[in-house]
């Protein structure tokens, strides 16, 4: 259970560039929810995920995860219970180190002086085989040799090797080619389903925002302007979503890429 209680964040406060990225936002995410998040550029989607994962501290408000106040916890502490993927597949892995070394760090078992055991290797191999990318035979190769899709799949594996309380996905398929994106997305779905993960996913693809998960929220100007789930969401189409956006935002959509390609994943 994640709870955001009236969090706010202003970047560059007191300057001409001051931008209120998150504005008095509250959100409650029960265990097992898979929320898709949509909104125009600069609406505060990524900023909200950054606030949850601790990339910065919020100016005000409180963040609870499983009843624990994590508002002022540093990011490396939060990452014990929060897994995260970014748009850039390079961000999640250490390119100069091998696949098994990356996985060992992510798995985080054993003491500081423990080494990779045969048991670990067997477990990694088994998990990697589920990706169907042949990575299980390349354990001792540097991650830098992998393609973007492979790296993102590996990052997904690393983020979920110890099932986190919360998985944050920030357009994690947007930088991949269509077939890799599709593969990573279906992997995401199956991993989330198998581990009953609570998940929040930012996407620019309105169709997959409706197809994936059980709840969709829409953001604008640092606020949540639409929050749908259940039957109402099931019957929604992309056009309903766009109408709802216009209505809720109270203005016409400008030439945002959300409008330009509502069907396709960029």
């Amino acid at each position: 259970m994640l709870e955001l209680i009236r969090i706010s964040k202003t970047f560059n406060p007191g300057t001409v560039n001051a931008k209120k990225a998150i504005d008095d936002l509250s959100l409650s995410v029960p265990d097992g929810d898979f929320i898709t998040i949509i909104g125009a550029n600069g609406a505060g989607k990524s900023t909200m995920l950054n606030a949850i994962s601790g990339s910065f501290y919020t100016d005000s408000g409180t963040i609870f995860l499983d009843g624990e106040d994590i508002t002022m916890d540093p990011p490396h502490k939060r990452s014990r219970s929060i897994g995260r993927l970014f748009q850039d597949p390079m961000l999640g892995t250490a390119p100069g180190m091998t696949i098994e070394e990356n996985l060992t760090l992510a798995a985080g078992h054993g003491g500081w002086l423990s080494r990779i055991s045969a048991e670990d290797r067997a477990r990694f191999r088994e998990r990697l085989a589920q990706l169907n990318m042949g990575l299980e035979d390349r354990l001792s190769q540097p991650v830098g040799l992998l393609s973007g899709g492979q790296r993102q799949a590996l990052t997904l594996m690393m983020a979920t090797i110890n099932p986190p309380k919360l998985l944050l996905l920030d357009e994690h398929t947007a930088a991949l080619d269509p077939s890799a994106a599709e593969k990573v997305l279906s992997l995401t779905e199956s991993i989330v389903r198998e581990n009953h993960l609570t998940c929040m996913m930012v996407t620019h693809n309105m169709q997959s925002a409706l197809d994936l998960g059980n709840r969709t929220i829409m953001m604008n100007a640092g606020k949540i302007i639409l929050d749908v789930a259940g039957e109402k969401r099931d019957s929604m189409t992309v056009n309903d979503l766009l109408d709802a956006f216009k209505e809720a935002a109270g203005r016409q959509l400008d030439n945002d890429r959300m409008l330009l390609n509502p069907e396709t994943d960029e």
């Binding site: 490396h76 014990r80 961000l91 250490a94 390119p95 180190m97 760090l105 002086l113 423990s114 983020a159």
Partner: protein, 317 residues
């Protein structure tokens, strides 16, 4: 005979400075931090080691020098991770401060003599008296130290902590995502690296039976040159191979330098030589990657007829 002497000197000095090269292997190659406090830390190891040895503790002097290195490394790491000071600047600041500390350690003097001091070198020398190895005590001690450090590094960098240190230099975000604080790994890495630098300084001072305030001047460039030479020889293989490459680089650097001295190159040229080697070693690969662009520019200049702007553009369309 003379050649053997040359190689022997190069081996001894090369192995001792190889400890500093291995320190930079950890901080520069693994952590991706260019530790400019290396010069001062090297001298600190030398002065602390000398003072403790002169006080009559030959073995303790080694440990003391390494501990002094740890303190120096911790300070550098603390400044850059907790005080918001740029990592290069942090090294320079610590280096400057260490100058005063080193003179203070030597009791307000810039020179200490250890001619009659008992050190690990004199201990081993008397132990080997009469055996075929009697002349090789310097080499043996340096070799033992280097082997210990390589074995330590090879094992350590495969532990979880070692992996975390390597990942810190590779992708600190990934370290954070693995619930490890990159500040912690940077501090540990620099402490260990500087312990080796301190050891290196201590052994050099004790092997030449004296220490002066300039003993570490230019060490960071010399060690960097050696590291890059080693990389050129061994490439980027597994950790033990890279570490051995670093030692090899230190030896080759000393050998070239010793030979250069034979050809009447004055001793003070060492530092210029090391600077040039570092420049070539870093700029060389850079220019190699730039070559296609440079060639393309030249081709373009030769091919494009001057004075007809716009013309070629229309044809393409």
């Amino acid at each position: 005979m003379q050649i053997i002497g040359l190689v022997q000197t190069a081996l001894e000095l090369g192995l001792i400075s190889a400890l500093t090269v291995l320190a930079l292997f950890l901080s520069y190659s693994m952590l991706n931090i260019c530790d400019l406090s290396t010069d001062g830390c090297f001298t600190l190891g030398a002065t602390v080691g000398a003072v403790v040895a002169i006080a009559g503790h030959p073995y303790l002097s080694i440990a003391a020098a390494m501990l002094a290195g740890v303190c120096s490394g911790f300070t550098t790491a603390f400044l850059q991770t907790k005080m918001g000071i740029n990592s290069l600047l942090a090294g320079i600041i610590v280096n400057t401060g260490l100058y005063s500390i080193n003179i203070a350690v030597m009791g307000n003097s810039s020179l200490l003599n250890m001619n009659k001091t008992e050190t690990v070198f004199t201990k081993l020398k008397s132990l080997l008296e009469g055996t075929p190895l009697s002349g090789q005590y310097r080499l043996l001690i340096a070799l033992i130290a280097v082997v210990c450090v390589i074995v330590f590094l090879s094992l350590f960098l495969r532990t979880r902590l070692g992996l975390a240190i390597r990942a810190t230099g590779d992708n600190p975000d990934m370290v954070r995502a693995s619930s490890i604080n990159p500040v912690f790994t940077s501090i540990i890495g620099l402490c260990i690296a500087n312990a080796f630098t301190g050891l290196s300084g201590c052994l050099l001072a004790q092997s030449q039976k004296s220490v002066n305030i300039d003993i570490g001047t230019g060490m960071v460039t010399i060690a960097l040159a050696s590291l890059l030479i080693g990389r050129a020889f061994m490439g980027r293989g597994k950790i033990p191979k890279q570490a051995v490459g670093a030692v090899l680089g230190a030896f080759v650097f000393r050998l070239v330098y010793t030979i250069a001295l034979r050809f009447d190159l004055p001793a003070y040229m060492l530092k210029l030589v090391s600077s040039v080697i570092v420049i070539i070693a870093i700029a060389g690969p850079y220019f190699r990657t730039q070559m296609p662009v440079i060639r393309r520019k030249l081709r373009h200049r030769n091919a494009a007829p001057a004075g007809v702007p716009g013309n070629s553009g229309k044809e393409v369309r």
